[in-house]
């Protein structure tokens, strides 16, 4: 970390994020290995497809628990849309799709991130529910189980596509974002570009934490 960097996330947020991310990655790999015959070889690495299936099931339980905690901690800032603040940003697509001189300022999370939250929350819950029914199909009606196969594969389609949007944005699409989920410290330049209003709010509330700084009072006074 360099002096002057800004604290964007709490350690607990990062831990929950990575629990969710790594279990999601594991579920995608093991799920795809059962969906596509050409990936069956992945099962051999852990002693067969039956083991892989079990890994998918218990990984799913871990994912479900992580998801509940994640919804709990991100709901307050990412779960609720505000038409006054979010609509101008949505109309300009946050400056991501065409040139916008002044990108409308939004709070801690922009509407794109809020949409991502909802896709993960609802999609994850749908995957968990359909997955549990597919794990114990004999307890349910045939039509329900068959419909769950559709829900589970449709959920995969959406979540898998979103993963690549996410990966693009946190790497080359919006450089400087990734450290928020590794060290938790981001640059002020990134903060001013991505979350100007959040930066102002933190400065006004005196909650801004600056690396190597003498405290938030000095920052807000400058």
């Amino acid at each position: 970390m360099k002096k002057g960097m800004i604290k964007a996330t709490r350690p607990f947020e990062r831990v929950v994020h990575w629990c969710l991310a790594l279990s999601c990655f594991l579920l995608c790999i093991t799920g795809m290995s059962t969906m596509y015959h050409s990936l069956n070889f992945i099962g051999a690495v852990i002693g067969g497809m039956a083991n892989l299936r079990m890994l998918h099931h218990y990984g799913g339980l871990f994912f479900g628990a992580s998801l509940l905690v994640a919804i709990g901690i991100f709901w307050k800032d990412a779960g609720r849309f505000s038409s006054k603040e979010d609509w101008p940003w949505i109309k300009e697509a946050g400056g991501f799709l065409w040139h916008v001189d002044d990108i409308p300022e939004v709070g801690k999370y922009n509407p794109g991130q809020k949409m991502f939250f909802w896709v993960v929350a609802l999609g994850g819950a749908a995957m968990l529910a359909s997955g549990l029914i597919m794990w114990f199909p004999l307890s349910f009606s045939k039509q329900l189980v068959r419909t769950m196969y559709v829900v589970h594969s449709l959920g995969f389609l959406i979540i898998f596509a979103f993963i690549f949007v996410h990966l693009y944005l946190v790497t080359i699409g919006a450089p400087g974002s990734a450290p928020a989920m590794f060290t938790g410290w981001v640059t002020r330049g990134w903060m001013k570009k991505q979350h100007p209003k959040w930066l102002k709010e933190m400065e006004e509330n005196g909650t801004l934490e600056v690396y190597g700084g003498k405290g938030s009072n000095k920052i807000s006074s400058s």
Binding site: Y36, P137, R146, V150, K193
Partner: protein
Amino acid sequence: MSQELIKLIDLSRCTACRGCQIACKQWNELPASRTKNTGSYQNPPDLQWNTWTLIRFQEHEDQSGNVKWLFRKDGCMHCTDAGCVKVCPTEALYHTEFGNVSLNVDKCIGCKACMYACPFGVPKFNAATNKIYKCDLCYTRLQGNQLPACVLSCPTGALQIGPKDIMLTKAYKRAKALGGDASVYGDKFVDGTHVVYVLPEKADVYDHLPQDPKIPLQIIVWKEFLKPAGLMVAGAVVAGAFLHYITHGPKMPEEEITSEGGDKS
């Protein structure tokens, strides 16, 4: 003998001796299960993981009030467009050179998807082994140029097996000779089954015999549409991200030297 085969079941010749049911158990070394008397000769009441073929006993009253006893040998129909093969994640269920659907039990992981894809309700689960079981038309016997155990055991000629075209010709000839409501069942759906019935009565008279068997819609959506779409959509997103990067460009942070100017705003 590596050509498409059809097992022909001529129900007009079946006497419900259940020789086939026993021969199947004997050849495939399937243990018996304890059952209860349910007021019918039909025993066990349904196909089981260890009962791959079953004679169904049905008391049928026709329009003039006469009661007839109908027998039907139930079991795997060996579909050409087989739902079980379509959904099996490990290729444990597969088509052989004879067109029948065989099962490599070692590969089965007990996911049970085939139970929900089969229009005939044939695959059965054994919780003790966590695996699926069903008739494989005695694939190893066919490989050795032998008749399936059930066909070998049949004393009346109700069961025959042979090349597809010859069996179908025989089936239609027999249905015509029987006249009345007799019909051929099996060649008209799921791209043709490799087990074909000659039914002396109308098809809708028989219990547990689907009138229009097909792979359930959800299974088609899952395997024919969403499975390939999952990869295509992800590929399109990756391509879209690349296009975004080279046309619109990334959202770069504002220029600022954080090490020194961190507390400047």
